[in-house]
């Protein structure tokens, strides 16, 4: 785990994303994105796309296979479906992030919890809403398997999948360097059916700055 100083002089965006809201933004090559778990225990469901070609997008399977490890942390290269490096995680005060658990959906909530959960707000509602608002052809079939920043989803030696608490906390953050121009789409998770948000979804903060600009 490392900490880095944020160069406020070159700030491009500094946004508080309320619980249950999406955020979509282009990030230039070389610029940094920091996602901050403001109050702790909050899942930030995140997708990335090559800004020049949305067909070339974050791939969970390619990312974990390329590093032969299921956890995302400092040094992880986020791989695209065409084998390109979209971003690199350059700092991580949390230590571990998940990319197997996916995003909650109204439909999967019915399967996981109860048939009467369909009305509850879910990440994939936010993803689709933001994709349609962004336009440029982005739609439901572009909502692929995402990263869950600040989530801990270990796999056991006998092939079980478990959901565990406790790696994140107030103020913990992950920082990424864009290796090409990318589009980022975040859903600040509204899930109330499990402890991924400690049953109390809270805001996250997204900060983008031009790392190359001198103060």
């Amino acid at each position: 785990m490392k900490e880095s100083l944020l160069d406020k002089a070159a700030l491009e965006f500094d946004t508080l994303i309320p619980a249950g809201e999406p955020w979509i933004c282009e990030i230039r090559k070389g610029h940094h994105l920091r996602i901050i778990d403001v109050e702790g225990n909050q899942a930030a469901d995140t997708l990335f796309y090559n800004a020049a070609d949305y067909e070339d997008r974050y791939s969970a399977q390619d990312t974990i296979r390329a590093q032969a490890n299921i956890y995302l942390t400092t040094g992880t290269k986020l791989m695209s479906s065409r084998g390109n490096v979209l971003l690199t995680i350059v700092n991580d005060t949390c230590g571990r992030h998940d990319t197997l658990g996916g995003a909650c959906a109204t439909e999967s909530n019915m399967v996981r919890y109860a048939l009467d959960k369909r009305h509850m707000h879910a990440c994939r509602q936010s993803f689709v809403k933001a994709a349609l608002a962004w336009g440029r052809g982005l739609e439901k079939r572009d909502i692929t398997h995402n990263i869950n920043f600040f989530m801990n989803v270990p796999v056991t030696a006998d092939g079980g999948l478990t959901f565990e608490d406790g790696v994140s906390g107030p103020g913990k953050y992950v920082e990424l360097r864009a290796e090409m121009d990318v589009l980022v789409l975040i859903s600040n998770c509204p899930q109330l059916n499990n402890p991924c948000n400690a049953y109390n979804p809270t805001p996250i903060r997204a900060v983008v700055w031009n790392f190359g600009v001198a103060v």
């Binding site: 969970a60 999967s108 398997h145």
Partner: protein, 228 residues
């Protein structure tokens, strides 16, 4: 038979089952699944894994779409572990690992890669790169240790091992027999598999996949509602 390194597709009808048999042992079958009646609905890796709290697939498990429905159930399996984590190799990865072997010199023994095989087959149904997300690698096993490291387990599938997938919807299934992307062997040596389709009875109230966990009972209800 699906030849080594080849791609095959079929619209598997609800009420039928697909048998895939490892003819020689050591096969790998990369697989993707879509609702044939509405291909925007497709296999979803996280929904499949988290509904069943598993990071491997075997008999009793089902394959979930992103719409809360069951595309296929695994109704028989002599292998015991199929890999849902590792995805597919593209041309660059295959060339880096096995060297270049192009059609001009090698004819149909040229090196093939699963990504291109799946994308070409998807195009035959009007689908493309935006529709290709996670694959399942049948007959292969990847274990994860306490620090998260992934390791390809070999040898795994034996000659004659098989898996049966019962279609719970009308499912476009695309299979590719290229080697697993984490197979450490430096030799390009994909294996063939045999496929067969038969009519099967609809899953009853005591169906083992249905009652394997409460999530799957709800998944079957949602799938049956879709056909009402």
């Amino acid at each position: 038979m699906i030849e080594p390194g080849a791609t095959w597709s079929h619209i598997l009808k609800r009420g039928t089952a697909l048998w895939i048999t490892d003819i020689e042992g050591g096969a790998n079958v990369g697989a993707i699944f879509y609702n044939a009646d509405n291909p925007t609905e497709r296999y979803n890796m996280p929904d499949t894994l988290k509904a069943q709290h598993t990071a491997h697939l075997t008999q009793g498990n089902v394959l979930y779409s992103d719409m809360g429905r069951i595309l296929c159930s695994i109704t028989a399996d002599t292998v015991g572990w199929h890999d849902p984590l590792s995805g597919s190799a593209n041309e660059a990865l295959v060339t880096a690992k096995y060297g270049e072997a192009r059609y001009q010199a090698h004819r149909n023994a040229c090196h093939k890669n699963a990504c291109d095989g799946l994308l070409i087959e998807l195009a035959k149904y009007g689908l493309g790169a935006r529709d290709l997300a996670a694959t399942v690698n049948f007959f292969s096993k990847v274990v994860v240790d306490g620090s998260g490291d992934m390791r390809f387990a070999s040898p795994h599938s034996r000659r004659g091992d098989y898996v049966e997938l019962r279609a719970e919807m009308n499912v476009l299934v695309i299979l590719n027999t290229c080697q697993h992307p984490m197979d450490p062997s430096r030799q390009y040596a994909p294996k063939p598999v045999h496929v067969a389709i038969r009519q099967v009875a609809a899953p009853g109230p005591a169906d083992p996949c249905r009652i394997s966990r409460p999530e799957n009972e709800r998944g079957f209800v949602l799938t049956e509602r879709y056909f009402m």
